[in-house]
Each structure stands twice: as structure tokens, then as C-alpha cells.
Symmetry: D2
Subunit: 461 residues, 4 copies
Amino acid sequence: MKLGHYCGLFGVHGNADAASITYFGLQALQHRGQEGAGIATTDGGPIRVHADQGLVSDVFREKRTLELLTNPIAIGHVRYSTSGGSSSSCNVQPLYAHCGGIPVALAHNGDLTNKVQLRKRLENEGALFQTTMDSETILHLLAKAEGPDLELRLQSVLAELQGAYTLLLLTPDRLIAVRDPRGFRPLMMGRMGDATVFSSESCAFDLYDEIEDVREIEPGEIVSVSQSGTRSLRFGDPHTKRLSRCIFEQVYFARPDSKIFGRNVHRVRMEFGRQLAREHPVDADIVSAVPDSGNSASMGYSLESGIPLDRSFIKNHYIGRTFITPDPKTRSMKVKVKLNAVREVVEGKRVVVIDDSIIRGTTSLSRMAALKKAGAKEVHLRISCPPTRHPCYFGIDFPTQTELIAGKYSVAEIAKFLNVDSLGYLSEAGMLKCVDGERDSYCLACFNGEYPCATPAEIGE
Amino acid sequence: MKLGHYCGLFGVHGNADAASITYFGLQALQHRGQEGAGIATTDGGPIRVHADQGLVSDVFREKRTLELLTNPIAIGHVRYSTSGGSSSSCNVQPLYAHCGGIPVALAHNGDLTNKVQLRKRLENEGALFQTTMDSETILHLLAKAEGPDLELRLQSVLAELQGAYTLLLLTPDRLIAVRDPRGFRPLMMGRMGDATVFSSESCAFDLYDEIEDVREIEPGEIVSVSQSGTRSLRFGDPHTKRLSRCIFEQVYFARPDSKIFGRNVHRVRMEFGRQLAREHPVDADIVSAVPDSGNSASMGYSLESGIPLDRSFIKNHYIGRTFITPDPKTRSMKVKVKLNAVREVVEGKRVVVIDDSIIRGTTSLSRMAALKKAGAKEVHLRISCPPTRHPCYFGIDFPTQTELIAGKYSVAEIAKFLNVDSLGYLSEAGMLKCVDGERDSYCLACFNGEYPCATPAEIGE
Amino acid sequence: MKLGHYCGLFGVHGNADAASITYFGLQALQHRGQEGAGIATTDGGPIRVHADQGLVSDVFREKRTLELLTNPIAIGHVRYSTSGGSSSSCNVQPLYAHCGGIPVALAHNGDLTNKVQLRKRLENEGALFQTTMDSETILHLLAKAEGPDLELRLQSVLAELQGAYTLLLLTPDRLIAVRDPRGFRPLMMGRMGDATVFSSESCAFDLYDEIEDVREIEPGEIVSVSQSGTRSLRFGDPHTKRLSRCIFEQVYFARPDSKIFGRNVHRVRMEFGRQLAREHPVDADIVSAVPDSGNSASMGYSLESGIPLDRSFIKNHYIGRTFITPDPKTRSMKVKVKLNAVREVVEGKRVVVIDDSIIRGTTSLSRMAALKKAGAKEVHLRISCPPTRHPCYFGIDFPTQTELIAGKYSVAEIAKFLNVDSLGYLSEAGMLKCVDGERDSYCLACFNGEYPCATPAEIGE
Amino acid sequence: MKLGHYCGLFGVHGNADAASITYFGLQALQHRGQEGAGIATTDGGPIRVHADQGLVSDVFREKRTLELLTNPIAIGHVRYSTSGGSSSSCNVQPLYAHCGGIPVALAHNGDLTNKVQLRKRLENEGALFQTTMDSETILHLLAKAEGPDLELRLQSVLAELQGAYTLLLLTPDRLIAVRDPRGFRPLMMGRMGDATVFSSESCAFDLYDEIEDVREIEPGEIVSVSQSGTRSLRFGDPHTKRLSRCIFEQVYFARPDSKIFGRNVHRVRMEFGRQLAREHPVDADIVSAVPDSGNSASMGYSLESGIPLDRSFIKNHYIGRTFITPDPKTRSMKVKVKLNAVREVVEGKRVVVIDDSIIRGTTSLSRMAALKKAGAKEVHLRISCPPTRHPCYFGIDFPTQTELIAGKYSVAEIAKFLNVDSLGYLSEAGMLKCVDGERDSYCLACFNGEYPCATPAEIGE
């Protein structure tokens, strides 16, 4: 499964090596976005930005590029999607602009549901849009906002935004972190000596022994760090505590060693696997994962079911770097480049396969076929989340409902399509049990269609 | 001499190969800007832009990059200066933005004298600036302008601009060319079959036999080309005919084979050389040029004076591509990498050397010293323009007055500093005679300080 | 653990897409060598070679490079070490030369024990050596060999070689595969329609469904494929059946989905893990692998011991691409970039950790420390092979005996050095039991110092 | 005109910056070869080599590459042709090998007439050829040569070579320079403080003020420089003084500021132009050069004839860097990218055009046509050497006789083909007069077919 429109944020305030620390931080967050990367830094004077398409290690291939950014305050960004780009190298982040005369760099993770509406309004007012990113919309609002200081102007801007967003803003004298009131996306902060650090996921903090006092930025919180200290402001409706944390972070996006929404991701996935074994037991010889997405859940399934864990698929670790794709003729030879089904493991066996999700079904189809071709007697597919039936408007670029296989077909039909001997999805209730979650603290819209706030269609976009 | 802040424009409307034609056109204009290049194209749908730092051949190193731009309407840009760049790869042109919902790409040559004022006003109105180029100011004005069509909105924008500008604008359905009312910079148009082409200089048109009906865009003219035909509009004060064409185009910037302001550049420079011989004759054995800047004028001087032309300096043609510079130790060996003074030519000779200008004086100093070291008995330096004493606000990045050697010192003092046996500059009157020019049709401000319009300081910026 | 001097071979005879098939084959073998790659092809005319330092995907970054090699016969090579290189880009393979007027390309995996002796003899005879690869020695011998055809000349050359070698040779009309008489390194062949394919490991064959009739090249076998058919010749002493297959292929080098020396590597490693559990049981809460080297063995240990499998370490998948390394200051922050120990998994737990080997001990030291720091109550390290105490002369670039931690210290001392609560190595006998191997069919010299043939020192080099 | 198979050599012994000095030296010699470059250095230990295809500035793009070569002894090479390359990156120089156990790097300019014969003999003796360069043949001979020291072994090797060669050899403790007994190619030496420097042309010495005591390596001289001093040996037939210095160095190859065979090249070319004016006078309005090849000669013609010099063609200086070539469609638009004929200069004029040679005639044809198209009333072409009718076997890659236009057609026929109003070639006698040369001191074989030594055909190759 490969989903788009995803991002990772990292920031440092108050360390002379802020650019380097951010560089390594972004590498630890690389799984959140492989198509673009950038860092903006300042020492109180002008803001320097370097951002381009590619992996962090490509964008900062030359040490000199990083050295030119040496400064005590930095924010960085990795992004998945580079969609919308005519002038593509400008469609990466951090986005840099002068907002009412103040230089600002912005890194943004999420998706605004009222972005089209906001943009139309701004365009009618004569605003000039140079990218297609909704992050630019935020900066336009900030440029027009009024108020005695940047934090208060920002507060008034945030009141206009609907949907999912975590933000890092850099100005010559401060670093500001924001998490939307529903807390769709994670954003962590910590202390590193005298410096303050921010990261989408805790795994990036683990690079440094010195980082301590790690906590989540609260939903609806603005944290502003400057030389004169750290300031926390609240925004959003104080009367509601309803959260919409994205359960898909736990299912798929976050790195297993991260702590997201208070829980270790690997542990949660293992619990998903255990629960899956309870909900969909089956008589089989081995349990195995689709690597690496099913690794943690497969351990849980094996543990709960008592069926031994084995490796039905082996991954080719170097294939990701391939620039040359098989041409039609070679493709007709059915190149199987990413995962290899191991005959010696599966031949004659009843195999339980654990994956984290099925989106379009096409990849799963060829993998299940490979197992059968390698001699598996039975294939039982278990998915560590409920069927994904509805589009996401909060930062995951799911296909449209008609492209989502579970949007059109029943579980039985999907099992038939994939030609597996049985298929079991984790239930919504079972999933929530694993995170001790009340319905009201997670967004499950991609499973049940119950959107926590107005969708773009409802807003009239 | 190396001066900054210069640009070249090329555009095509109505040829399927517009991107390729623009690519080769930009190569012919490469002398007008070596630090950035870009092309924007459209076929009526979205605008595609590719622009980056480097030479045209570097920016479009891969044929694929150019192929992705294949479209019937194109504009291109080469630029000298990459100044002002935080997010440097975004500080190249064509600049792309949505102006009131319409996608527009803009390529700009020149410099606005009221740019700071305009930008401040726009920022106060909440406009978001993402680059430091004054070209962005033009787009902001356009985004806010009102009027029944783009051309009329553009007209109202141009009424606000002061200073030097030639523009090419691309929208999904048209290509618009603009030249400021004083005609500071050149801009030509021609017909290529059914297509219309634009270029800063005619030398780029000479690549194609098919181009005909070549004429200058008039000062104060907007030419708009769309499928429904070509439209010409005038703007600016109709009561004045005073022009401010940049004489430095003739002296230094333009390619010798171009026709600028109605005259072939090589011819003009040869006349400068002849006039120089009349104004500053000297008894000498040979005349020679500082290659390539003095080539044409040296022919004129030789012809008028009867002193034979010879080659005192030989150029190393490959040195421009050097990325590695001599380190201090090697530099102490006095590496003479660009021009080599030929002992066999100058030894025991009285040499007249022709160059186009002296800016700081440091380069001239080392060249004159090299001639003496190679054995020249006498060195007589002749400069094919008057002393450059004043900064330019119309597109040439001269040093400040205190850095200009002629801004601080008399001709006699400069001669002494350069240790030459005599030094002669072309007179202002002599120069104008060569172009049959009235004082009112050229800008000579860098020589005499008489600025044709208010300077930034006068505007209060 | 990172060991050098390793290689992978792939070859195709008789398919128009031989270059592409070899390209993807080399990618599947990339784990056998990441520092150089090359492909040589022919269509009966001249041999074309492209080889350079870097990953396969770097060396053939441009599709055009591969297209220029389009030809029906191809051999390819990936190599680990680029040691010995003054003119480094020439020290990659396939090596190309004219041997007695015949163009030959050679790809070689292994290490000759008498290479210094052979090279000295050849140099004394006036041979010109242009690389430091022992592969060049083989070509020199071939250039001087006499005999009615290439295969017979090759046979006489092979009689002179001692040590480990598998070879692929390409001439304009044939592809020849060779495996040394003791069978140190693996080499497989298969049929792909009318074509014949060769590969160091079977995992590269698995890319193509069409490949069938897969078998090992026998120790002491020459297979020569030309348009007139396939010919197999034997060489070496017919009276001995003693083999010296490298057990380290099973322990470390080969990909888990390959079948090496008749056995699936993952299965063998799992057995190593089971046997390890029998030999070194321990009371613990979880078993976990050092990813990815201990993955398969950890499954076996968990299965045999009944202790649940968990993930103590999470790998950063993108870190391999880092070109920038932490500078001293950052390093003092103890950047832990490759593996992250997961506190939520190990805190308060008694952890069994499975790895495949300990070479110098420094990497293990920092990993075991990370587990303790993350809160592990006890750490029990289990190694799926015996202590590696002796250098290898057959293709693995082990450090010298004094650098090998097990070459100097007892198991108890190593345990103390690593600060683990217990340390257990697989026994030699236990290891052989897992491969049903008699002592005489595997080389175990790195464990027991019993070299199957004369070492360089014994030869007098 | 673009001729192949040409090279430039540069070397330094005894300066800590030898690699940098060689780098800049090669840049000054870049006109002698643009397709490959390399440097080999040593400090008494191993020889380091870096060489690749491309310009000097491309091959040493990264300062680090050059820094890795820092050593007190260095030789460098630029080459024109990369012909013969299967493994192309190995077909550049300096060529590195072990000759009888001694590491040697060799840079070679010239062409051996008996190279095929020598190679065949060596191959029959079992020698392994890894490149197609005849330089490799020299190293093979050296590897087999016997004698008490390297210089004497080299002497015996040189006795076997026929044809043109200048050589620089680097061993760990010395730098050896060689020029063939007929002196086909130039090779200079000089003193730079305590260091000794070598260069194909003196223009590279002019970079450094410190270089003095410049002299030619004598034909048939070996100069060997080591820490213990400089040694000069003679080889070749002492009874003949006949030289075969290549007159084409003066006509075309050498840089105008070099002193070749005792004469400044620009001066010689100017004399060619004067003599041409005497031999082929014509009534005309202007004289102009085909830049840059005709620049010096055009000055001589103008001076002698009294016809004013002008610039009929202007060169596009940036076009050399174009990687993208016009595609067929664009080409049909007749892109004229390199030289632009200036209408304002030639219109209605009788133009004398000076070029250095006509090889195939196709380039001249299109240039003369461009002049007529730009309005020239008459075009009189003058060539500053005699008709080139015969192939060169001494280092210039002329086309075969049937491809040489003067090999097939009379001067009158060529004039008709080129559609010029008159055509005049410099006479052989006139040419020799300009260099005060006796027939016996220059090779004029390309004009008159009188080869100074046996041709490959005569040798039976």
C-alpha cells in the first residue's frame, strides 16, 4: 500500500547545530514522506531555506548545503506528495514568504477541508498564489491578519482553518508549533539542554540521548519559543473535548518505535494482531507478515494463536533505489522485484498472512497469487484494521470510494477476488479496544464514514 | 568587467516547437545572464515551468526536461543576478503565480525605481511576498488590478511602475510583450511562419532563416498575441517622446551581431573606436583589444589611426568552465588564467590597448601590468565610453559610486594608478555622434549623473 | 557486521534482453556487493562494457547506458571491495581484455590463495598488470595458455589456480561458467526459454517465472554455452570428493530466500536458531533479533524455547542512503541512527538477543548498551555461529586474527566486555547438524583454523 | 574544422602543489583535447590516478578529487579522441600499470606507425591488452625490456617505436620526458624554483611567472628527473638531422600565444596571412576571419593588402556547452548556432574570408552560403595552408583521402562547389618561407604525400 499526501515535521530552537539536528531528525521521519525535503534556519537575521524534491539524503547530498544553513533555529519538513506542481521545485516546504514585512517559514502536515473556499476568497481579494499547497493559504491569512503580536495574529488565522494541521513556523526570533484542536496528527516537543525540539514522531527524538521532558503538543495548543522563553496559548472551542486522532497513524504511518497518542506503535500493532487472532482464528501451519507493514501484527497473531511465525516473503532491500523500471517485454516476464515468496517456507502449508490494510486490492492480489504459485496449500489473509471504505480529508491521499476495493465490495467478494481461502478484517470495536479508545477520541472516518467535521463537499467546495 | 542584474527574454506564440525554439533562443542570449535560466510553456491548459540556477545548457541538461515543456506557447528567461535569495531556486524566472485565478508566468528584464515603495504598500495591504524579485511586485499589482480584460488590467498596472522594464507574460491563451515608455531595454518581435517571436536581441532571431518582419516593440507598447490575432496597445504619457535607451547596451551588453535601437552593435563599437582614435591619437606600433570586450572598437581605432592591429592578449577559451580556483599558495604564483599577454607581439613595442570600460580598475591594473611585464615599451589605454561615475538604477548592477574608480579619481589619477603611459576615454559628445543620437534619446546617467526619472533616493526609498 | 571482498555474478546467453535481465539480476544480488557494478555484453561482435563504483542503480542510473548494452549475451558483476585501486574506476568488473587476440570479459567471485605467487611469476615474464585484482591474473594466464580451443586453454589455466573462485567469461560467441573444484562459492544455472542463465544465488532467478531446470554448477565444472549448444567439462582431481563450501554463505552472506548448497537459507538460519536454543537455553521474557541479520534465527530460537518473539530494535530504513555523517559535536550527542532500541518493548524485561556473528565486538557493544539503557533487566546474547577466530583466504575480508574479538578473548571475556548477562555461540557440531553436513563438505576454517588448502603464508607469499 | 586523435601533456617534478599546477596546466592545454583528461601523481609511494572522459573542469569537478592527488610529482594528459573504447572509462590517460613490478603511469601524444605490428607480436607472446591505445603497447614493451635501469630499458623500447610520440612517464621516484627523434610533436621543459616542469606548449608555462629557462626537449632526447638530479640521454640515429616537425601545429593545433618549434604561433599565422595576400591578392572591401581559426592570418592579410579588417561572423560563445542538439524538425529550420554572419557588415560588400584549412568542405560550404545570404556581393576565400590531400599517420585524425575534398578535387572545382568568387590556398613554398624552414625540417605529408617514414601500409599493417 502506498498512500500520498503525508508529511513529517522537525524543529529545533536554541542549539548551534540546529540544522544538523534537524537533518538527522528528518531522516528518522523519512518514512512520513519520501518525495520532498527542506530545512529553513535563522540566527535572528534573514531566513535561509533549502528545499527540493527527493529524499533528505538527496536534497542535502553535499555537506556544504547543510553548512550554509548553520544557525541556532531550524525547522524541517519531509513530504510525500509533490502534487499540484507546475513550478515543481517551488512546491516543496518549508514555504518561505514575507507576511506583513516579517519573514516567515512554514512547515505543514495535514489537510484543510475548507482550503478551496479560503483560497477563492483570498484570490478575490487580490492575493497572489504561487504554489498549489494549502500551506500558502495559511501564510496569506497570516499576512492579512491583524493583532498586537504574531501569536495573536496566528490565533485569529487558526480560527478560520478547518480540518487537520500541525504546523511549525519560523521567524527571525521565534519558532512556533501548532496542533489543530482535534489533534488529527501527532506533534511532540522535548527539551535538549537549553534547546527546545519538536517532531512529528518520538522516534526522531530517540536519536539523541539528551532529549528529555518529551510531551505531546496538546490539541488546540500554540507553543511559541523565543529567547525570552516558551509561551503556550490555547485556541479552538473550550467546551468540547472531542478528539479526532488519526487511527491510521497507528495502523500504517508511524514508525513502530514511535510513541503516538501516548502509545508505542509496535505494541499497538501487536495488540491489533492478537485481537485479529481472537476475532478471526483459523487452523493453519504458519503465520507470516507481508514485510514490513505486517511485521508487528504478525507477532501478535502468532502469539495469540500459538501458530508459529515464519517468513513467507523476503524483501529485496535495494530495489527502492531503482530508477530503471522493467520495460513492457521484461515486465511480461513477470518481474517480481520487491517481495519474493519462499517456496521452501510455504510449500504444502496452510499460511496465515498478516497485512495492515487493503486499498485497491491489486498488490494484495499479486502477492496472494505468488504464495499459491510457491506452493501454499491454503492462504488466509488477515488485515489489522477494518475495511477502508471512505476517502480521507485529513491528510491521507486515499483513492476515491470507487477505487477503494472495500468501498465497492463485501468482504466475501474481496476474498473471492483475491482468491484466498479466508479473509478477516479487524473490527472497529476490536481496534478501539487495543488503544483503550473511546469512539470520540479517534477519527475512524475511513472505516465508517462518520467524519468528525464538515467535508469539503458539505462546505460546498 | 563583470556587471550584474542583467537579463534576456525570448518568447514564441504559435509553434509546436516553441520550447525548443526558446531553448536555442536563450542560448543565443546567454551573454545577457549566466546565473539562471527558465522556460514556461502552455497549450491553453496549465502552465509548465522549469527554471533553475546555472547556464541554459545546465538547467536543461536532460532532453527530457525540455520535452516535458513541449507546447505551442513559450517564454524564456536568462538572468545574471541571483541576489536576494533565501529560497534560491525559487528566485529564478519565469515567475509563476495565480493572479485573480488566472495562471500567469512572467519574465522581466530591468529594474523598477519605485519597487521598495510599491512593495511596502502591497505588504501593508496584506500581500504575501515569496521572492525578493521586483517581478513579483508586478504580479501582485496584476492580481489586484481591475478591468474587463487582462490587457487593460495590465495597462493600469504599468501606470504604477517607474524605471526600466521589458516584460513577457504568458497566460494559458496568450503571450504579452511590454516595453517601458522610455525604452530603456531592447525588445524585438518578428514573424516565423504563423508564429510570433520575441527576443531581447535580434541575434537570437538570426538562428532561424524563417524569421522575418522583425521590428522593435515600441517604448510604451503592449503587444498581445492570442489565437484570435495580435493586438497592440499604447500606455504612458503620449505628450513626451523623450527616450532613455541604455547606451551601455551598445558599449558592453549586447552581442556584436545584434541590431539594438536600430543599429548593429559591432558597427557602433567600431565607430566608437574610430572616434576614440580621433579624440585620443597617439604615436604607437600596434593597436590591440582586450578580448573580447574591445574587439570591435580596436578595429575602428586601427582603421582610423592607420596603426596595425595585432593580438597582445590571447584568451583561454576553456577557463570559464573552471569550478576549482587557485588556492592561496598557487595564487601567489600569480596564475594568469584568463588572458595571456604575448611577449612576441608586445616586446619593445608601443601598444595601444582598447577596452570598453573601467569599473573598479583592479582588472585593468593587472592586465596593463602583464603587458609591461611582457616587454611593452609603452602602453596607451583607450576606453570606448566616457568614465563611468554614477550608479545605474535601470538594470545594471554597477558598484556604488565610491567603488567606481572614475567616481573618485580624475583621468590623470586613474592613468597613474594603472601605470599606463596615457589613458583616453571616449567623450560623451563623441559617443552620441556615433549613434547619431540626440541627448534625449539615450540614458547617459552612469556617465553624467543626469537620471531621466526619479531615483529610488528621490522617491524616498 | 560489515565484511568486504565479496561479489555476485549473473549471466545470460541467448535472450535479446540479456542486458536488462542481468541488470535486474544484479539488483537481486546487490546484497553481495554494494561498492561496484558492471555489465559486459556482446552480439558476436565487439564486447561492450559499462562498470563503475556504486550500486547497480547508480552505475546504470540512465536508461541509455543500459540500452547501449543491448545484446543477446551478457555477464554482470557486483562487488563489495574496491580495494587496491589507484585508478579506481578501472578496478571494477567485468574486466575486459584481449587474450591472444580474442576479446574476453571476466567476472570473478572469490579469492586465489596463490595470487601473489602467480602474479610475481607473470611479472617476471614481462606481463603488464593494470589493476590489482586477482581476476587480471586469470586473464594473463589465459592469454598465455595454449590449446586447440578456449575451453581447453581455460582448463589448463584453472589447473594453476588455488583457492576460491566462481567465474563467468564472455567472448564474442560464448558464455563460460566455472566453479572451483572445492565449491567454495555458489553458482547456479537455469533455463529461460531458449536462453541459459547463471547466478550466484537462486533468489535472482526467482524474479522470472520462466526460469526452470535450475541446478548448481558442480564443483570442478566448466559450462560453456554457445549457439551450437551447451558443453560441460570437468577439471580438478577426480579422486577427491572433499568439498569446502563456505558455511558463512548460510550464516551471513546469502539472501534468506536463496537456496544455497541445496538448502533454503532462511530455513537453515531458523535451524541455527533452534539449535542455539537447545545449546544455550535461558529463562527470559522475550526473544528478539538484531535486524535484519538475526531475523530468521530469532524465529527458530523463539519456536524452540517457547519464549515469545518481540522487536527490541527498530531499523531506520532510509539511513543507508546518508552521505553526510554526524560531525564530532553531533556525534557526542550519541546519534543512534541505524537501530533504535524500543523502551516500551524491553523495559523491565529479560531479553534474549539473536545475532549472526560478532566480528570486532564494537557494534555489539553499543547495541547491548542501548538495550540496557532502554531499561532491559537482563540481556542474553546468542550468536548463530561459532566464534570467528581465524582469517578467511577464500573471499571474505575478515579482519586479522588480532582484530577478531574471538581471536583474542574467551567467550566469558567477550560476555564481560559486552556487559551482557550471558553469551552463547552455536557449536560447530550443532551448526553442521543443521545442514546435515559432514565436516568434509563445508569450510569451517574461520571457526577452527583448519584450512582446506594451503594458505598464502604456507605457499610462501 | 574538427580533427581528432590529438593530445596535450603536462608534468611537474618537485613541487608540493604538483597536482594543482598540472590541473591549471592542462586547462591551458585544453584546446589540444576536450574529450578526456587525467592526472597521475606520486610522493615516492603508490601512484594515484584520476582520469575520465570530459573536459579538465568536468573530470576534476570536485576539489576533493584534486586534493586526493596532492603529491610532489605529477603528470597530466588531455586527449581528443576516445576512440576504441569498449570499457570507455579505461581508455583515458595517464595509463597506469605495473611494468616488471614497477608502477608506471604514462601520458602519450602522437601515433605509432608500427603499432599494429607491435601489438600483434606482443599478443602472440601472450600479452594481455586491456585498452585499444597504442600507449599500452609502449608499456608492454617496457614490461618486457631488460637493462640495468629504467632509462636504459626505455631506450631499448624507443628503438622499436616508429612514428610520432612525445611521452611523460611517472614512476614512484622519477618523471621522464621523451620526444621522438624526428620531433613531430612539441614538448617543452622549464624550471620553476627547484621544480622541473614539462608541457606540450609554452602557453601553459605562461600561467606562472616563476617558470624560467624554458627550452624544447630535443628530438631524440630522454630527460629523466629524480631527486638526485636531471639526466639527459639521446637515442635514435645520430647521423641524421632530418626533422619532421608537424607544420599543422603552426596552422591549426597550437594556441596562438604558444611558442612552437621556436616561433610564436600567432606571428607565424600572421605571416601566413601576409604571404597569402601576396600570393592571392584580390580587389575587395573588407577582410574577415572565420573565428577563431582564421583570426591571426586575417590580420596579416589585411595588413599586407591594405584592405580593412572587419567582423563578418560573430561567434556564440556559449554554444559549446549545449548537450541538446536541434532535432530534425528544428534542424530543418536551419539553426545557425555557432557563427552568425552579420548582414550590416557584409551587405553589398566584396568580402575576403580567411580560414586555416578546408577538410571535407561541408562546413565551409554552409558558411560561405551564409555570407551570400547575408548580402555579400562577392566572397573570396583564402586558406592559410596548402590543400590537405593526404592522410596523417602521426597524430592527426584526418579523414581518408576520398573524404578530403582536396584529395579528390582541384582548387577550381572546390571553389565551384563552395560557390565562392575565388579561392586561394597558401603555397607550400610560401608556407615554408614564413617559418624560414627548409623542406627537411617539417613534415608536409598531408599536403604533398611525402611521408618522412614508412606508413602503416608500407610496414604491412
